[in-house]
């Protein structure tokens, strides 16, 4: 709901220390950042913590944003990076594999949740088929390296172009596309998405 001109003005004022303007930016982008962070770390609470940490960094560095259209890619990439750091920190302390509870009444399959997705239950889909699909995706994402999950998050949760992702993570757009192509092949097989929906 915040238009480009308002956003540009808000960025300028926030960079000058205006907390009210900064709150407008938070309102406009927090959800996108949480979605990206969640795909990277698979934990709602961890994702929210990552986004809060990302806002601290954004507050410090907002004056480095020269063009308003760079703001969103920049913010979601900070959130992804914070989530990656938090999940790495968590993996050092926690067991990586956690057995999932059997929930036959809900029709979900019994399997193993691997790190990511371990605490995603609060907002998980209610119907069994969607729930199983989300669990499959959580497990497939858990099998990826954090850098690859970051690529998936920035592309398919934030909708960034390969060039925007490249700028955010220090790769060329072509390199991003090649890596995403390999990840697409892998996920399509693991999720059985090559079969008719």
């Amino acid at each position: 709901m915040i238009d480009d001109d308002s956003l540009r003005a808000a960025v300028a004022r926030a960079a000058g220390g205006d907390e009210v303007a900064f709150a407008r930016i938070v309102a406009a982008h927090h959800d996108d950042m949480a979605r990206v962070a969640f795909v990277v770390c698979g934990d709602v609470e961890l994702a929210q913590a990552a986004v809060q940490a990302a806002w601290q960094k954004a507050w410090l560095k907002l004056d480095s944003i020269r063009a308003a259209d760079r703001l969103r890619p920049w913010l979601v990439s900070i959130a992804a990076n914070e989530a990656r750091q938090l999940i790495r920190s968590r993996n050092r302390r926690w067991l990586r594999e956690t057995a999932i509870d059997a929930d036959e009444s809900a029709g979900t399959r019994v399997g193993v949740r691997v790190g990511i997705g371990a605490r995603a239950g609060a907002g998980i889909a209610a119907d069994p088929a969607s729930r199983a699909a989300q669990l499959d995706l959580a497990n497939a994402l858990a099998g990826l390296e954090p850098d690859d999950r970051t690529l998936i998050a920035l592309r398919y949760a934030a909708g960034l172009t390969s060039d925007e992702i490249g700028r955010a993570i220090g790769m060329t757009g072509g390199g991003v596309r090649a890596r995403l192509a390999r990840l697409l092949t892998r996920l399509r097989e693991e999720l059985h998405d090559d079969e008719p929906a």
Binding site: M1, I2, S6, A9, A10, R13, G17, D18, E19, V20, A21, F22, A23, R24, I25, V26, A27, A28, H30, D31, A34, R35, V36, F38, V39, V44, A47, Q48, Q52, W55, Q56, A58, W59, L60, A120, A122, G123, I124, A125, Q134, L137, A138, I152, A153, R155, Y156, A157, G159, L160, T161, S162, D163, E164, R177, A181, L184, L187, R188, D193, A197
Partner: protein, 247 residues
């Protein structure tokens, strides 16, 4: 839901975008943008002017320049005060913290205050209004930094009324100065209204001021969506701060 960018890599992307999008939606929670912004600011300290000047490469020359400037400023202030001048708070940028107006200042009355809605944003089931309150009198006045807000329709009917406020810190509003803040509203499950929305702020003496939006903003303003009819509607404001908004 995420939109797939135009630089397509593989036809499978659209299907994966839907799957990842639905998965990622689990992470979306109602937020208090003002609280998050305040926490970010509190947790992150920007380099101070002194830090920038005297950081790792600080030099005696720069220190001398700043000290000399400070001495000149202090001398000028002393001369000004000696000549009978006085200082009073000036509406500065929003970084200024609420400060009591020097000397005895009366409580602000509804007659001397006016206000406008400067922006109306939507976020995660909330509506967030950025508002400005102006002291149009020729004298400074004091009001609580938190007031009881209400969302009203164009006929003045209250749609959501905030809880009474007690124990709010006093906020000095100099004459002809502006204060700004945000009002956060959520979960309005009443009758849909298409009339122009306003905000009402109740002063401690139960009088109130109404804040309307300019015409170009009114058309895009709507009530906060109903998140659950069994949950109460909420409206609350953040503390007033000196300064203006210019969106």
């Amino acid at each position: 839901m995420t939109n797939l960018p135009d630089d397509h890599i593989d036809p499978y992307e659209s299907r994966l975008t839907r799957r990842v999008g639905a998965f990622a939606d689990q992470a979306v929670r109602p937020i208090d943008a003002s609280a998050i912004a305040a926490a970010a600011r509190a947790g992150a300290r920007r380099p101070t002017l002194a830090g920038r000047l005297f950081g790792s490469g600080g030099s005696a020359a720069r220190l001398g320049v700043v000290l000399a400037g400070a001495l000149v400023g202090a001398a000028a202030l002393a001369v000004y005060l000696g000549a009978g001048g006085s200082t009073s708070p000036v509406a500065s940028g929003p970084d200024a913290t609420p400060t009591a107006v020097p000397g005895p200042a009366a409580a602000c009355t509804a007659d001397q205050l006016s206000g406008t809605i400067e922006a109306w944003d939507g976020a995660a089931g909330h509506r967030i209004a950025t508002i400005k309150v102006h002291n149009s009198a020729s004298v400074d006045c004091v009001l609580p930094e938190l007031l009881r807000p209400a969302l009203v329709d164009s006929a003045g009917r209250a749609l959501i009324v905030g809880a009474p406020v007690s124990g709010a810190a006093p906020f000095g509003l100099p004459r002809d100065a502006d204060a700004t803040t945000m009002v956060d509203m959520a979960n309005y499950c009443g009758k849909t209204t298409t009339a122009a929305l306003k905000l009402r702020l109740y002063l401690p003496d139960e009088s109130s001021i109404e804040l309307a939006a300019p015409a170009n903003l009114t058309s895009s303003m709507d009530v906060p969506p109903c998140n659950g009819p069994n949950e109460p509607a909420t409206i609350q404001m953040q503390p007033l701060r000196l300064g203006t908004v210019s969106y």
